[in-house]
Symmetry: C2
């Protein structure tokens, strides 16, 4: 067997220690698959003395993670610090600049700076690998860059955030409200104390930006992703969705149209029989539609020490074997500059929930506005009567342009009888 | 852009012409992803003059497919003839012996001769790639060899034959009998005129043998796969399965136990909520359970010109990029020689359907036999009474050894009141 591939690991949180444990426990098997042992030789973390359940004896310790880039006796840098800026970014830039291969699980960094980092890696002729940045242990980046590489990708959609999917699953199954389920998820460790990155859709948008860049062969562009989170959803909406034959999921969707690329993260209503509708709890899933392969779905755990370490180790095995792929799936010069489309140009069907005063003529006023803007209705639900009180009215539109819908909603919201901001959910095939 | 990768294609049936069409239609995109164009320069097929909808002008034509191995102006051989012997085998052997990379979609060849062919390829230092041999366009071989390579695989199971899955889906949904649905599937082109390879489980067993070899790092061994098909299933069994909360699927299952490797293809009852239970029609799916990644599922079209060509082209792109992996995922010397376990050592729960004369004491006789062999029952169903007539009795056992069950069944079958061969279906988690 050849000499080991030597690795420096920055960040020894759950994923970092999970990786050290995996490389130790499955070391023999990994050496067989990689053609040589993979040996961690240097590490960096905030606290040298914390008990991590993995021995660090014999490893070179660095207090400054960025210094790992200069460690002369390790060939590859694994960045598990996280965050788009600060030490993570400095380390990755410095390592690439020094011509060292980098493996990272950092979706924020890759989504926000991946285009430039990719160019740097290409210029230096070294791999920049980030399988762990999207959908945990599911090898979906490899699938897009390699396994499905002969396909023009028409559309991809995915459940990319386990925290949101857990919350929406419990809301749907138990009929409970968002705030309550979030609090519980925080207690169970399924949601962070500061949950914004997850529940406001940012984390899913980071991942979608990466998938869209790979799928459509364009430079990664996080700013072009339209993002909405799940805070505003009410148990009422999940109930109406079920009644109408749908599930509500936080989806990341990217699509090539004749005009350009749509990339958006938002709650979506999808038919009960769509494969993504059945992906519940903390699971992630990605559906890729290729022009020759058809629809392929990948499902698994999207987070956690094990799945993430599995993906990082797979990237290390690729490097050990000398298998390499351009960072964004095609050589830099080949990347297309397709325009990004704003959400206002989206065309689709919509679920609209209004809270209105139950008075004669309300529905007529609302439907007149929709008619004036050329929006036609597929169905309308007004459950229960309570004259003079506030009741929900649900409208489902036929296909229409979002810009038209937005205009209609601002007029509808201005009606005196409409007492809350209208709730709007896009309807998607899945 | 560098010079093209030149390819010789043997076999111009639906897959072969599909490949030519794909390499032409997506040629520019494929060249970006592969780093250079992929150009078919030579072909061989039975009939030179058949109309195929793809122009063959300018391609060197060979009447003898095996001669493609000696074509001096193509670098890679793509074998799409099919069959474990004959021209397919001769061509692949000769191409490898001459040091030419081979891409094939031929599951029978790889399942039956893959160990030897893998050694030959390794000795010659050339790739032998067969992503298209299992689950069509779903990149599951790449996932096992690369994406999940850091995992010890504990178990894998899959719906590997679209014809069987289509037949079972229609039987379950419409309550119709096997023979009738098969005849219809043949008319629709979902089943071959000679359907044995599919419905007797051979095709699924070829694929399972390949997956098991990759998952457990052992030489591929088709003979070690226990195979049962779906001919004997009756609409009655699918109805009882639904009543008990199960679906019946033809599964390929491979599992590492303390004693060795189990590999088997047979109809299995799986809980309605198992992910594979929801994979219907001609779709294929594979669930892989890794020790660190947990459960990952891959789903998509398992056959057809498009999906198969997509997988063959992905293998060609890997070769064009110079990405290589040992044929069986680890270098030859590293392959373990884990013993194969026979089906008699299987331990699990069983569904048993008996057709018995409705007479007093029948159930007592049957349960006494089970008790004597130490088999305990989880449930028993005897729907309807018809004294003196033949009625179905369904038994579901707790976990037991197959060898014990076989003994019990031979005694039960010998009872005078038992009028048909007992139907037995293994119950699986999915």
């Amino acid at each position: 067997m050849s000499r080991p591939l030597t690795v420096a690991v920055a960040g020894l949180g759950t994923v970092g220690t999970g990786l050290l444990r995996l490389l130790r426990d499955n070391g023999e098997l990994i050496a067989c698959r990689a053609g040589r042992p993979i040996a961690v030789t240097a590490v960096s973390a905030r606290d040298r003395h914390r008990e991590r359940g993995v021995p660090l004896d014999g490893l070179r310790w660095y207090d400054d993670p960025v210094a790992l880039a200069d460690d002369g006796e390790s060939e590859v840098v694994v960045e598990l610090i996280g965050g788009a800026e600060g030490a993570a970014r400095a380390l990755v830039e410095r390592a690439l600049a020094r011509g060292k291969p980098v493996v990272t699980a950092n979706k924020a960094l890759i989504a926000e700076h991946g285009a430039r980092l990719g160019e740097l890696a290409e210029r230096k002729g070294v791999p920049l690998a980030f399988e762990a940045a999207v959908a945990g242990g599911i090898p979906v980046i490899k699938a897009l860059r390699e396994g499905l590489a002969a396909n023009r990708i028409l559309r991809l959609s995915g459940i990319l955030n386990g925290t949101c999917n857990y919350i929406l699953t419990v809301m749907a199954e138990k009929g409970r409200e968002f705030a309550e389920v979030l609090a519980e998820a925080q207690k169970l460790g399924y949601a962070e104390a500061d949950p914004g990155l997850d529940i406001d859709g940012i984390d899913a948008a980071h991942k979608l930006a990466i998938l869209a860049a790979l799928a459509f062969g364009r430079p990664v562009d996080f700013r072009a992703v339209h993002v909405e989170g799940i805070r505003a959803l009410s148990a009422l909406d999940l109930r109406f969705a079920a009644e109408l034959g749908y599930r509500i999921k936080l989806l990341g969707i990217a699509r090539e149209t004749a005009e350009g690329i749509e990339a958006r993260v938002h709650p979506a209503m999808i038919p009960l029989e769509a494969p993504l509708a059945r992906v519940d709890g903390v699971f992630n899933a990605v559906v890729v539609e290729g022009d020759v392969v058809g629809r392929v779905m990948f499902e698994g755990r999207g987070a956690g020490a094990g799945p993430t370490a599995s993906a990082v180790a797979a990237d290390l095995i690729d490097i050990a074997r000398g298998r390499s792929t351009p960072v964004w799936g095609a050589s830099g010069g080949a990347l297309k500059k397709l325009p990004s489309l704003g959400i206002e140009s989206h065309v689709g069907c919509y679920y609209i929930r209004l809270m209105v005063l139950d008075r004669a003529g309300v529905i007529a006023d609302i439907t007149a506005i929709l008619r004036d803007l050329g929006i036609s209705l597929e169905s309308m639900l007004q459950r229960g009567r309570a004259p003079g009180e506030v009741v929900p009215v649900v409208l489902v539109t036929h296909e229409t342009e979002e810009i038209r819908l937005t205009a209609a909603l601002s007029r509808i919201a201005a009606l005196e009888v409409v007492v809350e901001r209208p709730m709007v959910i896009r309807i998607e095939p899945g």
